[in-house]
Structures are given as C-alpha cells and as structure tokens.
C-alpha cells in the first residue's frame, strides 16, 4: 500500500546555490543561459514562479503579459529546440519546460495564483476544510440530507422531481455564494497589492499583511469547500 504525503514543499529542500555554470564553471550572471558558453541552465528550485516570469509578487496580473512571457520562455526551454544538443542539455530543457508549464498554469488562474502566493508568504500548506463554513452550516447539512434522499429515490417519481427542483434552487444559491466569495477575494487581492506597492515596513503594515493573508486563506478554503459541494450536486442531478 502506498503511503504518500501530499504537497511536497520544494522550496524547503536544501539546494545548492546556483552561481556557477554547470558546463564551463564560469560565474553565472545571465538569467537562464550562461553568458560565456551560452548553455541553458537549470532553473533553480528556489526560484518562485513570479520571479521566473520576471513579475512582481502581486495578485493582479495582466494575462497578456504573462502569456507573452510564457511563449518567450517556452521558445527558450522547449525540448524541440534541444534535439541536437547534449544529453545534459536535453535533461535541463525537459526539467525547465515542465517547471515553466506548472508555473504558467499556477499563475494564469487567479485562485491558484492566490493560493500559491499565500503559500509563499505564509509558508502554509493548503488548508483543506472538512466541515462547512459557519455561516453555511445549517444550509449545507440540509442540502446533504436532500442529496441523500434524492439518491435513494426513484428518479421517475414525483417526490424525486420535487427534490430535483429544490436541488436546482440550492445550486443557484451556492453558486451565488461562490461568486460573492470571489468578489471578496478580488477586494482582498487589491488591498494586498496596494499594501505591497507602498512597501511599508512598519509594525502596522506587517499586522495588516497578516490579516489580509488570514482572510484570504479562510475565504479560499470556504470557496473550495462550496465548489466541491456544487460539483457533487451537479454530478448527482445530471
């Protein structure tokens, strides 16, 4: 049986500082390519995704800029362009491309981007909620009952059709709820970015940052919880 632990935290791994070119051993000044021998360099595991794309650690992000940079780096790293190169370079190209693709996927999606930033800033592993958020407690317990009842019912029966109508209404409510949370998140994102842009180092600013991160984390996990319930609901009534 496989016992596996989720979410390996790459950044915590001890990693030799990459200061020398793996090939010619000269001091590395260039970003991804050695200035002297022009060989591609493995992207350091310590490099966060924002830095990788040359972007500041902000939650508002222009998708166009991100895409342009992604395409540019893809042209630099993709294995297609390393077919005639040494084995070592091919391996680096493969690793860098895989990393780049993960980075792009993470930053492209606002929710994943926020979760990632939270992880960077607060060093937290994703908070997986197992009980309903307090303000939805009653509603969700009731919904679970309706779902169970519906699953056990004869789909053609009248009672099933009543239940179905109720479930559709519940779905609309929850989806609205999800949208509300996303709007709250947007606000928090804006507050975070503004705070970072001011770059204050006061005790007050630090406390404010901590509060925003905590609120973000709560709403993100509530949102995921609600989203999973909605998915389950949709799958059941489909």
């Amino acid at each position: 049986m496989s016992g596996h632990i989720h979410n390996t935290d790459d950044r915590r791994e001890l990693q030799m500082a990459r200061s020398m070119c793996w090939h010619c051993q000269s001091e590395m000044a260039g970003e991804y390519f050695c200035d002297r021998c022009v060989k591609v360099q493995p992207v350091s595991k310590d490099l966060d995704y924002f830095t990788c794309f040359g972007l500041p650690r902000r939650l508002a992000l222009d998708p166009q800029t991100l895409e342009t940079k992604f395409y540019e780096l893809s042209r630099a790293f993709h294995p297609d362009f390393y077919q005639n190169k040494s084995d070592a370079e091919q391996t680096i190209s493969l690793g860098n491309s895989a990393m780049l693709n993960t980075a792009y996927r993470t930053l492209r999606d606002p929710i994943q981007r926020a979760e990632y930033l939270l992880d960077l800033e607060a060093g937290s592993v994703k908070d997986i909620r197992t009980t309903p958020p307090a303000d939805l407690f009653e509603e969700i317990l009731e919904l679970q009952d309706t779902l169970d009842e519906f699953r056990a019912s004869d789909r053609a029966s009248e009672s099933a059709s009543t239940l179905r109508t109720k479930l559709h209404a519940d779905r609309a409510t929850l989806e609205q709820r999800q949208r509300d949370m996303e709007a709250q998140l947007q606000q928090l994102f804006g507050r975070w970015d503004a705070l970072q842009n001011r770059g204050e180092t006061t005790e007050q600013a630090r406390a404010e940052r901590g509060r925003i991160l905590k609120d973000m984390r709560d709403i993100l996990s509530n949102r995921t919880y609600v989203k999973n319930i909605v998915n389950d609901l949709v799958a059941t009534i489909a």
């Binding site: 049986m1 496989s2 016992g3 596996h4 632990i5 989720h6 390996t8 790459d10 791994e13 395409y71 893809s74 042209r75 993709h78 294995p79 297609d80 362009f81 077919q83 005639n84 493969l94 690793g95 491309s97 895989a98 990393m99 693709n101 993960t102 792009y104 996927r105």
Partner: protein, 608 residues
C-alpha cells in the same frame, strides 16, 4: 543532422512526408498513390504490405491483417466485443495481443513496424538516402500504452522515433503553416478507426493546444460495420445464408459497404452488389444517403460530446472558435460536416487534403526538430489525467488532463510499518474516481531502506515528456540517492521483448521489405517479358521493323536488370518496355477490332 521524415501511421492508410525547402510534401512511389493501405498479408512469397496486401483481404482473409492500430497497447479483453469481426486469429501473451499469421504470431507493434518499414523504404527510394529517424503521429486521445506501442513499432522498424505527435496537432501545424492563421481553431479528425478533437490557439508561430478529447475506438470502420451488418441481415433473410462462416465473403461485404459509403458522400443513392457463395447468385441493394444518415447518426453524435467537453475544458464556448478544420477521410461524409457545422456555428474548412494533412504536419514537426523551422513551436497537452492508486482503491490525480507537456509532479512516499522495505505503486490514467475504472499503466515497487515507520522519505517524480509518455524517477530525500525504477507496463512489451523483435526483424531477411520488393519486381518483370514476347510474335508484323528492334532492345535490358538486385532499376526498365511497346499494343487492338467497329480506330474509341 540526418533527415527526419514525418509519418502518419493510420488505421486504414499510412503516409510518409518530408520537408522540401520549407514546404512539406508527401512521398509517393513511382506511379503510385502516396497513401499506403495499412494492410499486411502473409503470402507464399512472404509478408507484403499496402495495396498489394489489400488484394488479399478477400482472397486470403485469415492471413491478411488490417486496422491493426485498433489493437495497439490493448489487451485481448479490451477488444473482446469486436473479435468476431476480424477474420484473423488473435491471442494474448503478457497483456499484449498477438496476431497469428501462418506459423508465427506477431504483436501489433510488429505488424505496424512492417507498415513503417514500407514507408521508410519508399522515402529512401524517393530521397535517395537512408532514413533512420522519424516523427510518428498518434491519435491525440491515445493513452500512454498506445503511445509506447507506437514508439516500439518505430524501433522494430529500425527507426529512431524522435517524437510522437498528436494527429490533430500535426494537422494544425500544416494548416497554420499554409494559411498563416491566428486565433482559435478546432481540429476535428475522424479517420478510419479513431476520433480526435483538439482546440488550439495560434499566435505568432506558437501552436498552443488548449484542450483535447476523443475516442480511440470510433471511425470509418464503425460506419462500414453498420452497413455491413445491414447487408448481412438481409442476406440471411433473403437467401438463408449466414456469411459469418465465410471469412472471404465477410471481407467482401465489408469492402462493398465501405465503397457504398464513400459513393454516398457524392451521390444521393447507390447500389451495392455482392457475389454470394454456394451458387446463390448476387445480392444487390440500393442504399440512399438518407438511409446511411439514419444508420450513422448515432456514431456521428458520439463525436459531439467530446467536442463540447474539449471546448469547455479550454475555457471557451463553441462560438469562440474562429475556425474549424476537418481532417481524416470520414469527414468527407456530408452528415459529419453538417453536424460539425451546426455545433460550432461555422462552415468548416476542408481546403487541405484531409488524407495528407497529418503526414504533412509530421514533416513540419520533423523540420522543427532538425532545426530547419525555427519560428514555429507546438505546445501540446496530455489527453488523460495521470494518477496513482491510493487507499481504498481510489485514484489520486497527479497531472490533470489537458496539462501542457512536458509536465511533472512530485509525490513523497513513506512507510506505515517499521522496517518496511518497499512501497508498491500503481500508476493509472483516466478520469474516473476509482482506480479500477481507469486504465492501469504500470506497477512498480519502490525500494525503501528498512527504518522505523514514517521515517523514510522517497520522492517520486512523474514526468510526462513531449511525446506524452511517462517517465518515473525516485530519490531518497535522506541520502540524496536516486534509484532507477524498473516498470512493468500493464499492457505493453517489455524492453527485452522489443529488443528481441528488433533483432528478429533483421534476422528474417526473407520477411524484409526490401528483399520482398526485389522478389515482387522480378516476378512482375518475368510476367512482362513473357507477355511482350508473345505480343511480338503475334503482332510484330503490324509495326515498323525499327519499332520491333526497339522493343527487343528494351526486352534484353529488362532481362539484364532482372538478374541484378535493384528493384528500382527493374521498374524503370519495365516502364521503358511499356513505352516502346505502346505502338504495338494499339496496332494489335486496332487489328482485332477491325471487323467489329468498321473503320473506327482504337484512338477514336478511347477518346470518345
């Protein structure tokens, strides 16, 4: 760098293409079509491939393999439902199907390798150099086992497979190169055996696949089968004949069904006609386009679900697609075009030859790999989610479907029991919740140093490379040591087996395609020599003596070439004879028609 060719290894037809100064071109042999039917037959002269093998479908059904692509990367259990339709015998060994041909059994990659060798040979003859590297296409929805099987086939054929690329994306490359399109395109590829839909974004030379979906068991073959079933039922009813005990007639029914289907793409009605066994005469039946549509609508509808899913997964709506490109022979069916047009609300593009566009795209990709084309880059995705089995038989997803490749995921493993020395890992592919409902790719045992429970930390990296094929590595985080992992594929050939098959394919020189080419050329040359000698004897007096001398010279040149061992030289001399003897043929026909067609010349007759 030596030349890399692009190969479309299709269910029904295969092609090879190359890049000719920035323009991809398909390669056809002397006077032949570029398409090589994906058929392999065992004859008294050994194994043959392509058009000549297709002839054996009805003559020699038990020894003629077609649609072998359907069996790539599959176990016998996977194809149980359709076994009855195939006249050749299938067995299984080590989770891999084996096809019996005479005394020997061949795995699907070996049969595919014979087709690949034929293409390789064509390319070599055409380009005048030896070919050792190729890009081979697969349906986008092929899973890891099916991709690996295709790669194995290449190796067995003596080709280094530099890249496996997806058929719809290959088509997009060829299309994008020609049309210089920007925007979002949907490629709908319905071939002989498989269906794929891919949604791509084309921008400044980047071809980014947003999502893909499909069905690796849905294509023209299935339409043929429906029509054939209809014919078979009617034959049973009208003549009390059960053709399923006559493999040759079963094949004839299938082929006639396909021909009728193809005719109905251009006509509104057609007549199918078949010879029956046991002196029961002929079965003829009129089939209309409407009847065909009624038969096929369910199959066509089955392609639309994956289309909607792919569009949804790419975060778009059908109306957001700028262009729809049709690929594959089956998209010539009017019903298919109608339904696709209705779904996307756009008239689909079909300017490019749907038979060739995949091979052309493979040639473009080959050129990218060899450094010729530098402004284009394909970013493809993995079609199916990859995961591992966890407690309770649940699949835990590591790399989601439609993730851009190369893609990697890391997972940390530890032990539950003190002193435990291994962790079993079961790798799966698919979208279902439970492990048992997904495709098992492989199992392996992770070696762990004996330590108290929970202390070992082994990090396993799952990497899907640019071919869409999985690679697994493991690292002990305590010692930093990496361990090599021996993976036993669930439905594939082991490395040793592939090695052996590569050796076999060289050893049996008689099976070798080039040897066979020579044998065939010699046989054909022999026949031509005999008939021409006879014509000279019968009709030599009808032509000028100079012409007779020219024919004699050509005959002795062919006789000499026939003794040599260059099939191309033989074919060239044969063409010379045909040229030299043209006058003789016409004169003899004119002569024999003189009474019947008072005064009319053959040249008039053939022109009218």
């Amino acid at each position: 760098m030596s030349r890399i060719v692009g190969i479309d290894l299709g269910t029904t037809n295969s092609l090879v293409a190359y890049m000719d100064h920035g323009t991809p071109r398909v390669i056809s042999a002397h006077h032949e079509r570029a398409m090589v039917p994906s058929v392999v037959a065992l004859t008294d002269n050994g194994l043959i491939v392509g058009d000549s093998a297709k002839e054996h479908l009805t003559r020699n059904p038990e020894r003629t393999v077609y649609s072998v692509k359907r069996f790539m990367g599959k176990s016998l259990a996977d194809v149980q439902g359709e076994l009855a339709y195939f006249p050749y015998t299938l067995t299984e060994k080590g989770g891999v199907i084996r096809i019996k041909l005479g005394e020997k059994s061949y795995s699907p990659p070996q049969i595919s390798a014979m087709i690949l060798k034929e293409l390789k040979l064509r390319a070599e003859a055409f380009l005048g150099e030896s070919i050792a590297k190729a890009v081979i296409t697969v349906p986008a929805y092929f899973n890891d086992s099916q991709r690996q099987a295709t790669k194995d086939a290449g190796m067995i054929a003596g080709l280094e497979v530099l890249r496996i690329i997806n058929e719809p994306t290959a088509a997009a490359l060829a299309y994008g190169l020609q049309e210089r399109t920007q925007g979002t395109i949907a490629v709908y590829d319905l071939g002989g055996g498989t269906f794929d839909i891919s949604i791509l974004k084309l921008k400044n030379g980047i071809f980014e696949v947003l999502a893909t979906n499909g069905d690796t068991h849905l294509g023209g073959d299935d339409f043929d089968q429906l029509i054939a079933d209809l014919f078979l039922t009617e034959i049973r009813r009208q003549y009390g004949l059960d053709l399923s005990t006559h493999p040759d007639h079963m094949q004839a029914v299938r082929l006639e069904a396909e021909r009728a289907k193809i005719r109905l793409s251009d006509e509104l009605k057609t007549t199918a006609s078949l010879d029956l066994p046991d002196g029961k005469g002929r079965f003829t039946r009129e089939l209309t386009r409407d009847q065909l549509d009624a038969l096929s609508i369910a199959l066509v509808e089955r392609t639309l679900g994956p289309c909607r899913l792919a569009v949804k997964d790419s975060g778009l709506a059908p109306g957001d697609i700028d262009e729809v490109v049709l690929v594959g022979g089956s998209t010539r069916m009017p019903l298919v075009r109608q339904r696709v047009q209705a779904l996307f609300g756009k008239r689909p593009h079909c300017e490019l030859n749907p038979d060739e566009v995949v091979a052309l795209g493979a040639a473009v990709q080959a050129d990218i790999l060899s450094g010729g084309t530098t402004d284009m880059l394909l970013l493809d995705v993995t079609p199916l989610s990859l995961g591992i089995e966890t407690m309770g038989g649940v699949m835990s997803s590591l790399i989601r479907r439609n993730t851009t490749i190369p893609a990697s995921a890391k997972e940390m493993f530890t032990t539950y029991v003190d002193g435990q020395t291994g962790v079993d890992i079961h790798i799966l592919q698919g979208e279902r919740e439970l492990a048992k409902d997904n495709r098992s790719l492989a199992r392996f045992r992770l070696k762990v140093p004996p330590l108290p429970a929970g202390v070992p930390r082994i990090e396993v990296t799952f990497l899907i490379d640019a071919n869409g094929i999985l690679n697994v590595t493991a690292k002990d985080m305590r010692t930093g040591e990496t361990q090599s992992i021996e993976i036993k594929p669930s439905y594939g050939l082991s490395d040793q087996e592939v090695e052996r098959m590569i050796e076999d394919s060289f050893k049996f020189a008689a099976d070798d395609v080039s040897a066979r080419k020579l044998i065939e050329a010699r046989l054909d040359a022999g026949a031509l020599l005999t008939t021409t000698e006879k014509s000279l004897a019968d009709g030599g007096h009808l032509i000028a003596t100079g012409d007779v001398a020219a024919i004699r010279t050509a005959l002795s040149a062919l006789a000499a070439a026939k003794d040599g061992n260059d099939p191309r030289a033989i074919r060239a001399r044969m063409a010379d004879i045909e040229q030299a003897a043209k006058g003789l043929t016409v004169a003899m026909l004119d002569d024999s028609l003189k009474q019947g067609l008072q005064g009319k010349k053959v040249s008039d007759v053939t022109q009218s």
